[in-house]
Symmetry: C2
Subunit: 907 residues, 2 copies
């Protein structure tokens, strides 16, 4: 028996049986489109009759070097006869012609990558027959010229330009601007010209025989599987080259045969809001491409209800049936040909984040899917939509992108440009203006301006620049490193190519995409209180195993984190508190003085600030744990930059040579000596690799009074909150530990201080003592570390840097991008945890630590804590929690739930 190469749409059961009922293999055999058409047909959905030539046939054809395998064409012709029976029309018969389309359809969708020919079956006689049948010369000849054009380009390899030129010259001759204004006669002329083009370019006649047309089109589809475009696409998308494509031969139906004909596209639910109503557009007496092209204004589906009530109701019931079958919202194409509804395609509909949430929840409520599936249906990144303002697509459409930078903190922001933080503050506070702070880069001094701004835009800096970190922390939309912007602080303006934007003019940025727009774009503000979201998150929380904490340095952050569902603070970076303008001078005094007494004084001056900060955190997180990391960054970060000071010094040296009066000279000399002295201090703190230098616990050991002060502040605050009736649960965390002795030493000193405070205050505070694991050695010796640590928090940013020996700042603006582009690294390890390397080290650490202390608490507090793929890795590692910025908490909750559900389904 020869192989069955061809299945009519009615033979879907047979196809299914041939592959043991495995639907994935049905799609493999027939291609996605063919399988889907068969499936709809089986469901009783009105699909135009047709058949599918299998992917196996394609593969045989290619193996045979471009020859049909035996019986293939005979089976195809037999299927064509069946179509003729079903439609009552005959292929190539001028009296009642059957016209068909011939399309590719592979297992996985490869949009636009392979070829299609429509209106197969037309020739001079059949076209005349069509005119008789429809009375529509324009339609018939337009279809005919389309066939010749498509066939010429797709099958015969003629370039498209001569066809388009011929059309254009005919329009010009007739003095019209649109093909629709050409007459049937015009198209007759064009058909002749097109035949001539084919003859001249392909050195062959356009075939007038219908079966020849179909056979040649089928070969062209097969051949297109190995076209360069398709191969490149498969390489990029990771699709195997040996799958082959199916060929779908389907009866043509026409929505442009009069007012009882129509064509349209509709979603089974509203794709923007998720509401359960049909949503879409259609046109009467039109072809599908007219709807897409927007050449005529479309009508909303609503109107079909009155215009063709019967059709509408039939369509609605089909939509319900397809949703029920595919268990998701559907995006359908339909055509009404002389009062008869045909469904040409259905697929899962694209939707906004808001709609995705509502549809998932509704489908679960309707019993179509389980709650687990609902939770899995929403991409974690979509949750961000509910947290940040957005530009509508319409708003964006009206404004060109003038520059692009790194999308470091999501959300849309619009405001007038202010080039310095003081001005930004004044405009916001005094004039109530919306401001965008625009700077070459930001520094701790700029924070007050950043806090009042709607958003932040810089022309340099990377994903870990000051601007990026602060913006993410405060949920401010930000775009950084937009190199095309030339900011001139002197003239208070910036230019992009020839465009100039002055201070005070409106500008908009999209921190989700990294785009910069001139002008004021409308923003829409979604809402975390959305009732469907709330229910989805509730379900997610039931499913997840991982705890979710937030990184928060200030009480406001902690409150927001708690509102978003954080179950504790996983990281409070105490040094951020030092950067506030009223504190920074004290911090600088502490660093620069050589007198121990003065240093002690400065440290003590910081105590009340820190205590108040911590008390605020404890109040916000009442009853939940708060991990407080002691001071971490190198001290030079609190001082002015070396180069800035050097420049100042140079300026002064140049000025002094130009000074004329003694007074002037004295003034400059005094300033010189002051600047020189600061420069000396900064210089003495400079390190060749600050990342690997004097920071973290190393600072704590060298300046114990500083960490002692911090611990005192923590415990005084905890006692204060306890006295108020609250419940403070501090967890003291030591950064950058590499050797157990560092931890042992610090624990001794700091627990003594804690004891002292609790004794002074007469209050017992239950607390834990632990460490960051951000240095490979700490991970390797976690068994020893665990003797002194009650919890471990993986600082995966630094751990990734040290494990890869890769400085993020340097790499992300340099070779790392090249590595990603060339596929040397599969993903940016700073965005998604490197499971094979860093993850292996983490697994080792967890295993070793549990040997010493089986119940040791483990978590992640790097930026990976907010990345869905990394959260799944942390879940697999068996960590207790992940901690991320407050704005990522909902994302993390959903990711953790999905991870748990996937793990469950994998057994």
């Amino acid at each position: 028996m020869t192989k069955k190469w061809v299945y009519t749409l009615d033979e879907i059961d047979q196809a299914e049986a041939a592959v043991d009922g495995d639907w994935d293999r049905v799609r493999g055999l027939l291609g996605g489109k063919g399988a889907n058409l068969g499936e709809m047909n089986r469901l009783g959905v009105p699909v135009p009759p047709g058949f599918t030539i299998t992917t196996e046939a394609c593969n045989s054809y290619l193996e045979l070097g471009g020859k049909f395998p035996p019986e293939l064409w005979e089976q195809a012709l037999a299927a064509l006869r069946t179509m003729e029976e079903q439609t009552g029309k005959r292929f190539g018969d001028p009296l009642n012609p059957l016209l068909v389309s011939c399309r590719s359809g592979a297992k996985f969708s490869m949009p636009g990558m392979m070829d299609t020919v429509l209106d197969i079956g037309l020739n001079d006689e059949v076209t005349e027959g069509m005119i008789k049948l429809t009375g529509n010369e324009h339609f018939a000849y337009d279809s005919y010229r389309r066939l010749i054009q498509m066939f010429g380009t797709v099958v015969l390899g003629v370039r498209d330009e001569p066809f388009e030129d011929a059309l254009a010259s005919q329009r010009e001759k007739r003095g019209v601007s649109s093909d629709a204004d050409l007459t049937g006669d015009d198209f007759r002329v064009i058909v002749d010209k097109f035949k001539e083009i084919v003859r001249r370019n392909a050195r062959t006649e356009f075939p007038s025989n219908a079966e020849d047309q179909l056979q040649m089109a089928t070969r062209a589809v097969f051949d297109s599987w190995n076209g360069k475009r398709a191969r490149d696409y498969r390489e990029a998308a990771g699709i195997a080259h040996d799958l082959g494509t199916g060929v779908n031969v389907i009866t043509m139906v026409y929505g442009n045969l009069g007012d009882d004909s129509a064509t349209g596209v509709a979603m089974s639910r509203n794709a923007t809001t998720g509401e359960n109503v049909l949503e879409g557009d259609y046109l009467t007496n039109a072809q599908g491409e007219d709807v897409v092209a927007g050449t005529r204004p479309t009508k909303p589906m609503e109107q079909l209800k009155t215009e063709m009530p019967q059709i509408y109701s039939e369509f609605e019931s089909i939509a319900r049936r397809l949703e029920k079958h595919y268990r998701d919202m559907q995006d359908m194409e339909f055509t009404v040909e002389r009062g008869k509804l045909w469904i040409l395609q259905t697929r899962t509909g694209k939707r906004t984040a808001q709609a995705a949430v509502r549809i998932a929840v509704d489908l679960a409520d309707e019993g179509l899917i389980s709650r687990e599936e609902a939770v899995l249906r929403v991409a974690p990144a979509q949750i961000e939509f509910f947290l940040h303002p957005q530009f509508s697509a319409a708003a964006k459409a009206g404004h060109p992108v003038i520059a692009r930078g790194l999308n470091v903190s999501p959300g849309a922001a619009t405001g007038v440009v202010a080039f310095d933080p003081d001005l930004a503050e004044r405009w916001v506070k005094e004039d109530g203006r919306d401001v965008l702070l625009v700077r070459p880069e930001t520094k701790p001094d700029d924070v007050h301006g950043m806090l009042v701004a709607r958003g932040i835009l810089t022309s340099s800096g990377g994903r870990t620049s000051h601007a990026a970190l602060v913006a993410r922390q405060f949920g401010k939309p930000a775009v950084v490193g937009a190199h095309e912007l030339k900011i001139d602080l002197g003239t208070r303006s910036m230019t992009v190519d020839s465009l100039v934007v002055h201070e005070g003019e409106w500008l908009s940025i999209d921190g989700t995409t990294g785009e910069v727009f001139v002008g004021k774009l409308d923003t829409v503000v979604p809402d975390m209180d959305d009732e469907w979201l709330a229910r989805l998150m509730e379900w997610a929380d039931e499913f997840r195993r991982l705890g979710i904490r937030a990184n928060a340095d200030y009480p406001e952050d902690a409150e927001r984190a708690r509102k978003y569902g954080a179950e504790g603070i996983g990281l409070c970076r105490t040094e951020h508190m030092f950067f506030q303008p009223e504190r920074l001078p004290t911090v600088q005094r502490m660093i620069t003085t050589r007198s121990p007494a003065e240093r002690r004084e400065a440290v003590n001056a910081l105590l009340p600030f820190q205590r108040a900060d911590f008390a605020g955190l404890f109040r916000a997180m009442d009853g939940l744990p708060v991990i407080i990391r002691l001071i971490d960054p190198p001290l030079h970060e609190f001082l002015p930059g070396f180069e800035e000071l050097s420049r100042e010094l140079t300026d002064l040296q140049i000025r002094i040579t130009g000074a004329r009066t003694l007074e002037e000279i004295e003034g400059i000399t005094a300033k010189l000596s002051e600047t020189q002295s600061m420069l000396d201090k900064v210089n003495s703190l400079r390190e060749s690799n600050p990342m690997l230098g004097l920071r973290g616990v190393r600072l704590g050991i060298l300046i114990p009074e500083l960490t002692r002060m911090q611990v005192r502040a923590v415990f005084e605050a905890a006692c204060e909150v306890t006295r108020e009736g609250g419940k403070a649960i501090p967890e003291i965390m030591i950064p950058l530990t590499s050797h157990v002795n560092e931890l042992r030493r610090q624990r001794q000193v700091l627990e003594a201080e804690a004891r002292e405070v609790m004794d002074e205050q007469g209050i017992e505070v239950s607390y834990q003592f632990g460490t960051m694991i951000e240095v490979p050695r700490a991970a390797l010796t976690a068994d020893q570390i665990a003797e002194y640590a009650e919890f471990l928090s993986f600082g995966t940013n630094d751990l990734t840097q040290t494990t890869f020996a890769m400085s993020r700042d340097d790499a992300e603006s340099g070779f790392l991008m090249r590595y990603l582009k060339e596929g040397i690294l599969p993903a940016n390890p700073f965005a998604t945890l490197d499971e094979a390397g860093v993850g292996k080290l983490m697994r080792l650490a967890v295993t070793e630590a549990r040997k010493t202390r089986p119940d040791i608490e483990t978590g992640v507090c790097g930026e990976h804590g907010g990345d869905p793929a990394s959260i799944e890795i942390c879940d697999r590692l068996g960590l207790d929690y992940v901690s991320c910025s407050p704005y990522r908490v909902p994302v993390a909750r959903l990711s953790a739930a999905q991870s748990a559900l996937r793990a469950r389904s994998q057994g």
Copy 2:
């Protein structure tokens, strides 16, 4: 039965039996000194009679709060009676008095930490009796006053000053300068004064009863175990506090009773050369302290042979016996009392490195020890002696140390000071002078001066500074970071405090100790060809398992390494070749150009240099493997420093404001623009953490033409040497790999290049392809890495930096020193491998790699490869070889042998 608290020297067998013959426990029971005296006595060596009170007695005494346990004193008195019988003298009997010493003696030697009282048994009557017996009033009263003084200070707690004052005032009164010139009558007066001092200061009479004296002295020794000095010493030396001390009561013998008496100290072999002859000094009619104090010129042992031939011969035979018993060269104290030889002490003798080697080999030849023991007897560091010139002790004694720096490259060097490399070169090449190159710090530009200099001295920089690395590489003695030196290049002089040294004056440095001397010190040059050393190293090579390779970048280094026993090159740092003055401009052009063509041209210009270098290496290592590491350091290292350029720019900017003529302005402007352009390039290459930046394989991937050129050079050189009849075995090594894909990519590109060269040349070269493991991620994923690497070489310097997240440059001049001082880290991990952390990672890497490729070759090429403790760790890790600088090769060979022998003895 009560406990036995006291053992006479004759009862050593009993003591041994009491602790089951465990000699370690005998030392624990009797203390080291007591056990040793008993042992000598058992061997028939003439030891003055005496007894030992056990450490258990001491512990009981201390536990009882300062009371003798029952029977202790009775047993002591009984032992005293035995001494009386053996000596025929009686304790406290003026007619024939027994005098004894009372000394502490703990299990482990604690020199000077506890107390001793001599001449116990003297009082007014006994002293008179002594005069009658000896006819020597001076001797008797001098002894008596010594007893009162020692007893007063040690037992009664009187300060020493009043005693010394009294002695001084008597000398003054008599107008003499030495106690030896005082008469018996003078000492009588002094004795009275001393008794008065005791009475006044201790508020008690000096006890005249002999047994009271002994009992009080015994208590004082017991008490001294818990004295502050002793406790501190034990803390520092890690000796347990509960061991207790023994008390040795031994008959006094005197070498100052006439010309038939003598006293001396002698070694059983020459401690400087190791020659097998007695070596020592003695004095006739003198006390032991006279020999030590050097108040009288001593006589060499040689002379005793003629002066007291019988005694000499007896002593010689005892020395042989003791050597045979203790199986090592002995350092002995002896006294001849009226023609009778007594041995007072024997211990293992200290010796020079040269003697250590010869003695170990001779002892093995004599059959006293095995060859294995001989190899274990020599400390690896002692081998260095044979490699570098040294200052003699005498030379050093005559010249004060004017400054100290870091001892970064061992050996002694002396020469005239040259402050710049060109001058150094001229003086050496044209005038044949010995030169010391003295610089604030060195740079690649200075290398020609460093190469011709005898030694290098810098006032700044650390152990990894350019000066240190280059000096070690070339075996040049060097002292760096001698901060006390103020070098003034303007006046061509340097000052230390008020001392000024001008260019051209003689200076000497000791790179072994870090000392700097003014003047020309004599040096002695030892010799690796020493015959005993050769035999020892031959034995070592038989015992070791680890292979030893050398790090060598130039043919001369490779030749030296081979001469010193290297079995291959473990690391050739190809970039060192780039720093040579005639190549550096080409390298800089390659880096700074933006034109690909110009870059290619520069790269190709480097090819012949590299080929010649490699050919030289292959010739030197004919038949042995040569690992060639492709370019590693960040490119900015080849350019001038950012700050240097900035300074230049500032200078130019200042100069231009002062310029007067147009010509001047134009000149400066041109220079400005050139400097600015270089500065821009340098700036564009700057990284916040260069250690973690664009270097190693990352460079190779970004600039493939550079590494391709290097591989071409390697293979062209290998073919060239093969054609000459030599055997080149290149191993191509990729640095800084962190991900297997880097290696896969590089291997593809580089093997293709290798193939091309071999095809061009028509010669097949067998080679290996491998990688450094210096990034934690590479170690963690060694199973993947091993798919593409045929060998792994641990770069333990960088691996330590990244595993600890500790930049060596920054840490060693900062917090690391504090960590070591405070014991937070047990050792400097850059000097000795951190077994618990870095070692664990290495073990994991080796295990994982062998899963993929069981026969993978593994080694270490960091500085740890030359450190004995680290070599032992590498041996335990099962690595195949260690690689170190040529000058460390012999040290490494010995260390590896010792490691193997220790492993063997452990089982």
